[in-house]
């Protein structure tokens, strides 16, 4: 018990160490379901590509490129917006969140560790989705050098929005909302098809929502020959990212 009085100082190194230990905690706690989650994610990514392919029949090259580059975005968004809030709600309901919050860990470490876990989980499905897309639609991709940081930004934003929702709303409501969001993302968002196909009012709405910029970013990162990222979209996405991260951290700091 001699080591007990050594209270750690809140420096960056110890915060990083704590974050990695929390990642370990989360991974080990989910270890039983991890393989299944990865499989389900991969399945969803493949299903998005193959399923949309069935819907549209034999697509022209541009449509095919949209479908192939939309799938990874959908994987990232569903993990962030759906899985993150579901697991956070679960940990609120079972009581582990309150206990974890009594630990001497910076509140941002909880957010960062969860984001790391979910991003790592999303990766296999995302890569597989891209590969299946290339194979199914026979498209050529040109990867931009900034593809990896771009994916991280998308993942961070989606997970932070989901996190803030789950932390601020009652668990049951958060679950319902996230399920509704899946529909919006899958069908009513310009991810796997161009925005021009949507009614004007929905286009306007998406101009301010984070989903279209996410899709544009991933699309431009995967097929940089064909697509570019409008500066405005990047600004919208960064604004959402900042707001969501601040919201999530505030939610974690909130005292009843």
């Amino acid at each position: 018990m001699s080591a007990t009085r050594a209270v750690p100082r809140p420096d960056v190194a110890s915060a990083a160490r704590q974050t990695l230990l929390l990642v370990q905690w989360q991974f080990r706690r989910q270890s039983q379901f991890l393989p299944l989650m990865v499989v389900v994610q991969a399945f969803m990514a493949v299903a998005t590509v193959v399923g949309y392919g069935l819907l549209v029949g034999d697509p022209d090259p541009l449509t095919a490129l949209y479908l192939a580059t939309g799938a990874p975005t959908i994987t990232l968004i569903t993990i962030g917006l759906v899985l993150t809030p579901q697991l956070l709600s679960q940990s609120r309901t079972e009581g582990s969140l309150d206990w974890l919050r009594t630990l001497p860990v910076p509140r941002t470490a909880f957010l960062v560790s969860d984001l790391l876990v979910w991003t790592l989980l999303a990766l296999p499905g995302m890569v597989l989705g891209v590969l299946v897309g290339v194979w199914r639609f026979d498209v050529d991709l040109t990867l931009a050098p900034w593809l990896v940081p771009a994916t991280l930004l998308v993942s961070l934003t989606a997970a932070s929005v989901g996190y803030a929702m789950a932390a601020l709303l009652p668990p049951a409501l958060a679950q319902l909302l996230t399920q509704a969001l899946v529909f919006v993302v899958l069908l009513f968002s310009p991810v796997s098809y161009p925005a021009e196909r949507m009614p004007a009012w929905l286009q306007d709405a998406h101009a301010w929502a984070p989903i279209e910029p996410m899709a544009q970013l991933v699309r431009a990162g995967l097929a940089s020959d064909t697509f570019t990222l409008p500066g405005r979209s990047l600004a919208v996405l960064l604004a959402w990212c900042a707001a969501a991260v601040v919201g999530a951290v505030l939610a974690l700091r909130k005292r009843a």
Binding site: A3, R5, V7, D98, T102, L103, A256
Partner: protein
């Protein structure tokens, strides 16, 4: 205690808004010093957990102060959290982990060095006789083992203040003794221990100081001997009845709590012989199943303080 108080709570008030609007804490004063085990007794809903959550900054008080090692814990919850380790009332879910892994991870998250934490974990597992379960996945261990694991997660790298919320729940009698020894050991090593419980009988032997909480207010506080002092010179008579119904007590007995097939009363020590003679006659006549005369305990004090109806349901539970 004087100057070396570690946790000092003054005039703490907290009301939860919402339809029910519960006044959970209604002006609490409490001190815990290093090396001391302070027991906080109270029934469910007395405001114990609310008090604990305010100390670590999960709940913000409406009024009052919490000072922890000279630091304002309300203004600086992150500093407070570094000084406190908590065993929550509900077991921390650790499915997917083994007790050993969970204890070690928490020790390291709390800033412990890997080797030191591994040693301390091994010591705790030994001391609590958990060796057989140490490397079993948490979903396969019993409630008692889970409870002890959750204690060890708190004690592996303990803060200057250790808060234990009902640590003995679900724990078997043999391991309970081991657990009480560990709790006492934390205090002896210089930690301040705040023990939240409604297990009045067992707490009596371990705590240095007690506070009885009811409806968000400290009704009484003092040493166990000091609190039972008012009842010195009296004994408790417990009787089991063969059938439901009121007891016709001996005139020297002051009737106390009664339940199905069971009743208690208080007897002045001087009149104990005649009461024992009466009770034996009642047993011989078949009007009582058995009887027992015991010294007035903290439980009697607790029952008197919080009222018999509620105490009866709590102590029995």
């Amino acid at each position: 205690m004087g100057t070396d108080v570690l946790l000092s709570v003054r005039g703490l008030r907290k009301r939860y808004r919402g339809r029910t609007g519960v006044q959970a804490n209604d002006g609490i004063d409490l001190d815990v010093a290093p090396g001391q085990v302070v027991g906080l007794l109270g029934h469910n809903g007395a405001g114990k957990t609310t008090l604990v959550h305010q100390v670590v900054g999960l709940v913000r008080p409406d009024a009052g102060t919490i000072t922890l090692g000279g630091v304002d814990a309300v203004a600086h919850p992150e500093v407070a959290r570094r000084k406190v380790s908590i065993q929550a009332q509900a077991n921390v879910p650790i499915t997917g982990l083994t007790p050993r892994r969970a204890i070690e991870l928490v020790g390291r998250i709390r800033g412990g060095d890997r080797a030191a934490v591994a040693r301390r974990t091994e010591d705790l597992l030994d001391a609590l006789d958990l060796g057989a379960w140490a490397d079993t996945r948490a979903e396969k261990v019993s409630g008692g083992v889970a409870r002890l694991t959750s204690f060890a997660m708190t004690a592996v790298q303990p803060g200057a203040l250790v808060v234990l919320d009902e640590p003995t729940n679900d724990v078997d009698p043999v391991r309970r003794r081991l657990l009480w020894a560990q709790i006492r050991g934390l205090a002896d090593a210089g930690h301040a221990v705040l023990l939240v419980t409604h297990n009045v009988r067992e707490a009596e032997r371990v705590v240095d100081h007690l506070a009885v909480l009811d409806h968000g207010v400290v009704l009484a506080s003092g040493t166990p001997a000091g609190l039972t002092g008012t009842l010195r010179g009296s004994l408790t008579l417990e009787v089991d009845l063969p059938h439901d119904g009121p007891v016709t007590w001996h005139p020297a007995v002051d009737p106390g709590a009664s339940g199905r097939l069971r009743a208690t009363g208080t007897v002045p020590a001087g009149r104990a012989p005649e009461v024992v003679a009466w009770a034996q006659d009642e047993v011989d006549a078949g009007r009582l199943e058995r009887y027992a005369l015991t010294p007035a305990s903290l439980e009697d004090v607790y029952v008197r303080l919080v009222g018999e109806d509620r105490a009866a349901e709590e102590v029995a539970a």
